[in-house]
């Protein structure tokens, strides 16, 4: 402590700081891995690249290992450091986010499995494309992880808005697939696989949205789950503007 003028001027560069930084960077690394998994799974589905699909399925093991490592690290920090305030929110947000990131990995694996089944089914005629839905979801995952990296609540809010577009695209894909199955009962076999793949992508988008909600909690200490998007944007922006108009050491009211 400086002891001068009531200011805390510098921070300890402690082991604890390194542990927290390590936690954050591992989460980002795990997020980057699943973002690539989703992208590759969607490409494998669109191009019929079986090798790529198998590589996604194999890659899920690495995601699972990262999940176990991060859970263990969070447990250790809670037990040994008893984090408080922002540190506590970081550990809490990481525990929550890791589960969602792992599930995004599972979704990528499901899409890759469906890609292989689609290759084996050899569909004829027009096959509705999941490329747009896949790209929307991959971008959501990328932005949710990016928001975590930059501690940026505006990027996180962007993910929430993107989820509406992804849900719309999901419904549109489902309509196209239903129509295709009605017109041609022989298509049902492979179209069901595409329905499951679309469902997995839609779920991955929901997980990305969850991650962005944890980020808002981490930065602002505000739980925005189960709040309408409009209310959420207003709350987040109000808080952000209050924080930016007051210097860090000036009193803040809530």
């Amino acid at each position: 402590m400086s002891g001068q003028g009531g200011e805390f001027t510098s921070h300890f560069s402690s082991q604890f700081n390194q542990e927290l930084e390590n936690l954050r960077s591992r989460v980002l690394a795990m997020g980057t891995v699943v973002e690539k998994q989703i992208g590759d799974a969607v490409t494998a589905l669109a191009t019929g690249n079986e090798n790529m699909a198998r590589s996604v399925i194999g890659g899920d093991l690495h995601v699972n290992q990262l999940e176990v490592y991060l859970d263990e690290e969070c447990r250790r920090i809670l037990a040994r450091r008893q984090p408080a305030a922002g540190d506590l929110r970081l550990v809490f947000a990481v525990i929550k986010a890791v589960t969602d990131i792992e599930r995004i990995g599972d979704s990528a694996k499901s899409v890759a499995r469906m890609a292989i089944k689609l290759i084996e089914a050899k569909p004829t005629g027009t096959v509705p494309s999941l490329a747009h839905l896949g790209e929307l979801v991959r971008e959501m995952v990328q932005k949710a992880i990016g928001a975590f990296a930059g501690m940026d609540v505006n990027v996180a809010l962007g993910v929430e808005r993107a989820d509406i577009a992804a849900d719309d695209e999901y419904r549109s894909v489902m309509r196209a697939l239903t129509t295709r199955m009605t017109e041609d009962p022989k298509a049902i076999d492979w179209a069901l696989n595409l329905i499951l793949a679309a469902r997995a992508l839609e779920r991955a988008g929901d997980h990305a949205k969850n991650i962005s909600e944890y980020l808002i909690y981490l930065v602002q200490g505000k739980d925005v789950r189960h709040v309408s998007l409009e209310d959420r944007e207003r709350q987040v922006q109000d808080r952000a503007s209050r924080q930016s108009t007051q210097p860090a050491d000036e009193p803040r009211n809530t």
Partner: protein, 275 residues
């Protein structure tokens, strides 16, 4: 006891609007304190104590938290040259503890203090607890017996000492001695209990038993506790205040205080990042 449902003059810039829902037992109003040397240890501190709740004061050494605690029972009067500026109002009667006409002895009867190191009198266990009652003029043996038993029960010590009440207090373990001091404080039925780092000399098990006791007592008495142990403040307090260099930096509901403090200095302190 019906104190006002207040509108306490909390400084608006230190947060904590939630105490407005509580009955206020005591209000510190723009309190400054100067030691005889001229050193100013408190700088216009304002905060309220909610009735039958635990309020914890935390902060680094020399921040003024113990000085503030000791203002409540006028302990600073014991040394010449010390000077108070401001008020500490106790409800429901609205008396100013620091008023020039107020008898410090009377205030100390209304507010009992438990110190860092257990400090039983060199007397029997029974006499330690009965002492305050005798000083108050209680003479009837039956009544004293009754009060001693109740105070020892309330301090979770009765079961351990009921068969050895005439033993010397010094024969008790450190944790038991501290609970005896709490019993001694409770015997005179104070309105506010002041704890000055009550567990810093105790082992973890004795510490846990004192914290358990504080949790039980909070339903009956208003508690103000100074502690160096942040986790202890997080465990026992309903409201928490962070002091630094004689100023109150932040005061608020303990749940919010330890998960989402409003002030950067509070955040830095409770996350161990001051340097």
């Amino acid at each position: 006891m019906d104190g006002p449902i207040v509108n306490a003059p909390l400084r608006p810039d230190v947060g904590a609007t939630s105490i407005a829902e509580e009955t206020v037992k005591a209000e510190v109003r723009e309190l400054s304190f100067f030691y005889g040397s001229g050193m100013q240890a408190l700088k216009s501190v304002s905060m309220s104590l909610a009735e039958n709740k635990v309020t914890a004061l935390i902060g680094p050494s020399g921040c003024g938290k113990s000085t503030l605690l000791r203002c409540f029972n006028r302990m600073h009067d014991l040394y010449p040259g010390n000077r108070y500026d401001g008020e500490i109002i106790i409800h429901p009667d609205g008396v100013n503890v620091l008023g020039p006409d107020v008898d410090p002895i009377e205030m100390r009867m209304r507010m009992s203090m438990v110190f860092q190191k257990p400090n039983p009198f060199p007397k029997s266990i029974y006499e330690n607890v009965a002492y305050g009652l005798r000083v108050r003029g209680v003479k009837r043996a039956g009544l004293i017996d009754e009060q001693v038993e109740r105070a020892l029960t309330d301090s979770a010590l009765w079961g351990e000492v009921k068969d050895r009440l005439q033993d010397q207090a010094y024969n008790l373990s450190g944790g038991q001695q501290q609970r005896l001091c709490i019993a001694r404080a409770l015997a005179v039925e104070p309105e506010i209990l002041l704890f000055d780092e009550p567990t810093s000399a105790l082992d973890p098990i004795a510490t846990a038993s004192i914290e358990e006791l504080i949790a039980e007592l909070r339903n009956r008495v208003t508690i103000l506790i100074v502690t160096h142990n942040m986790q202890q403040a997080a465990r026992v307090s309903d409201y928490t205040a962070f002091m630094y260099l004689g100023e109150l930096v932040e005061f608020g509901d303990a749940d919010d205080f330890f998960t989402n403090p409003k002030q950067k200095r509070t955040e830095d302190y409770i996350t161990g990042r001051y340097g």
